[in-house]
Amino acid sequence: MTPLLQVEGVTKRFGGLQALTSVTFDLPEGQILGLIGPNGAGKTTLFNCINGVYTPEVGRVLFHGEDVTGSKTYAMAKRGLARTHQIVQPLEELTVRENVIAGACFGRENHSLGSAGEIASEVMEFVGLEKRADQLAASLNVAQKKRLEMARALAARPYLLLLDEVLAGLNPSEIAGMVEIVKKIRDRGITIIMIEHVMKAVMNVSDRMVVLDYGQQIAEGTPEEIANNPQVIEAYLGDPNLAKKLMGEDE
Amino acid sequence: MQQLSLLLTSLPDGILLGFVYGVAAMGLTLIWGVMDVINLSHGPIISLGMFGTFFIFIKMGINPYLGLIPVAILGLLLGVAIYFIAVHRVIDAPHLSSLLATFSVNMIIIGIATAALTTSPYNVDFNMGSFDLGFTTILGTRLIAAVIAILVTGGLYFFLYRTRPGKYIRAVTNNRAAAELMGVPSTQILALSFGLGTMLAAISGALIATFFPFSILSGAGYELKSFVIGVLGGLGNPVGALFGGLILGVLEGAIPAFMETSWVPVIEFGLFVIILLVRPNGLFGAKE
């Protein structure tokens, strides 16, 4: 079976800066892929290359086995790819419900306003925003805006969901709630790539992981393999005992 | 052959005028560059500069070139006042707000000036002789205006690159937030930039008045020309504006040799839109 997503040798430059160098991996359907790396490693840029914000200079992106390199972002959305943004991008002067309805209307299933409304109600409840439905998106706090991003993406009923640091800036109980939501999404059969700095959480939910450093893909493997990979420890984690801490008990 | 001689007759005039247009556009583009505001009160301020020459020369009998100094000072002060009254509050608002705010200033100036001065044309009969070049004659007033325009551009360049406030202005143009972090007093710098922009508009108006008749409504046409020039030279690039002005002047001088003068604005504005589309940073700016 062809993997849902294939990233083949993707390379992206910004002027003199090599943001991504030949990144390659496959993502089978139904899995969660954790994407980690220090700030500025190129993680968000990789998302942008996958969903069509940027066209990579070299390499290809295949979705359902089809070459989608350089597609427009809206074309990727229609194909069944949804994402959240590291810097939240709510439609501020619209209500939470309208935001989520828009996600359902213009995503893969192209719903009418009526059926999108039903999906929106369901998704808002799923992420715990139902009480805020008629508030303007601008009035939400950061944690709620992150949930809104998630709700909007889910309402599109995507095959593949790209989550960019949805846990950043949340307190521990909010993180726990969000991790539960991510697991539930996976259980619905949606494939996920998750960029995350909260290492324990991402190790915990990922089936496989990819590590970027200065645009280079320095490791790929299961969370155990990554936690024990000397290169990752040296380049990124820095602490040789970190693996135990991450995989094991509380610190 | 006939076209060539027509060209030789009208081109030098066009070029000289182009420098003066360039000064007006420099004002517009300076403001745009520093604060992302298109100043729709630009035209009436050009007109006010024209009336500056009128009052100083006709009413007070002072040489209009000497009169440029008070015109410049008043233009600067007026701009600073406009900035604090109309622009400061909407500096970070969506573009519609700053466009309408400066347009309301436009309405206010034109309303008052119409009541005081009517909209009928005024004329400053100022003569500086003329030079015969054989194929064409050049009016002294236009030559002097062009020289002054070049001096003003040089002065602006010196100010922006060699003085502290000028360096601040460039810092704010580059990145206002970063400039503020480095301790640049951004509000004062924005107000100063707006003042300089209107000062340049007033100076260009004062120069134009030495050779064209005008009314309070005349500025509107030069405002539109300033848009065209600003886009030719790259919006936000004051020195590019002088070259933009030159290009416009050449076009205005050259086109009548090949087709009816009434086609000039068709070509000007057509070019304007095309350049906005293909080279939004201007002919000399970096490509998209």
Partner: protein
Amino acid sequence: MKNWRNHLGLIVPLLVVTGLAIWPALTDSVSNRENAFTILKAIALASSLNILLGYTGYVSFGHIVFFGFGGYVGLYFLNEQGWSIWTSLLIAGISSGILAYLLGKAILRLRGAYFALATIGINEAVKAFINNFDLFGGPIGMTLNFKVYKEYGGAAEALSMAFYIMAGLALAAIVLSYLIRVSKFGLGLLAIRENEDAAEVMGVVAPDAKTWAYVLSAIIPGMVGVLFFFKNGNVEPHGAFPLHASIELLVMVMLGGQGTVLGPILGAFAYQGMRGYLVTSDFFKDIQLSVSGVILLIIVLFIPAGAVGWLRNRFAPLRRVLP
């Protein structure tokens, strides 16, 4: 209609315009009809502009180009080709729509002030072109053949008919604006207004949606143009493409509240009412432009959401009934 409350946003504007349309007949006053004509024209134009400005967030400073262009095309067929007013209206709407489609494909790539500048440039370029276009009478323009009025029973009858057609166009503009506002297409436009990149990531095909918004905002202004020139009896370049009229429309939309159905209607009333008062008042007559300027400035600085927007922000439940 069981839940008529949900349609208040349409019913109120329609009642307002209908009232305006029958007011001159009730009072049997030609000068009332003139005033009502001006307001209805403003409503039709401002509501159309609102589709682009208020819903999509693109500031068109040269929207009057569609009024002038459509008006010219329609009057040409009416006057020179002997078409009826109805087919002339149709061709005017279609040509303005086509012009908007072609222009939109090109200039809707520009954002913010660059788009605004491009619309000014286009208005001026089209005006200058028509000024040279002999088929449309060049700088002199076209004068309506008196024969044309006769076909509609003479000048008085024709002008009265023009009034009612204008009322029809205003109603059409409002219905169009409402239907877009409550549709999926409209939601896409609002998403573009709020954040175009994010909207595209969500799947809104922004290039197409913007182009259609531009087309839909251009059709009725083209028809209004024909009707206006039909009533005036002539058209010439400077009267057809006045930049300040474009800006007046922006002011109306802003006054009433951009992005709402009712806003441009209130704005058109308020602006025309204010102007009517200032121009005739002994005290303000001479400086009416300045007074308008001061009022505009105060609104821009202190109530940028406009009247309806302000109400919606103050009283959240209104959001449902005033789309």
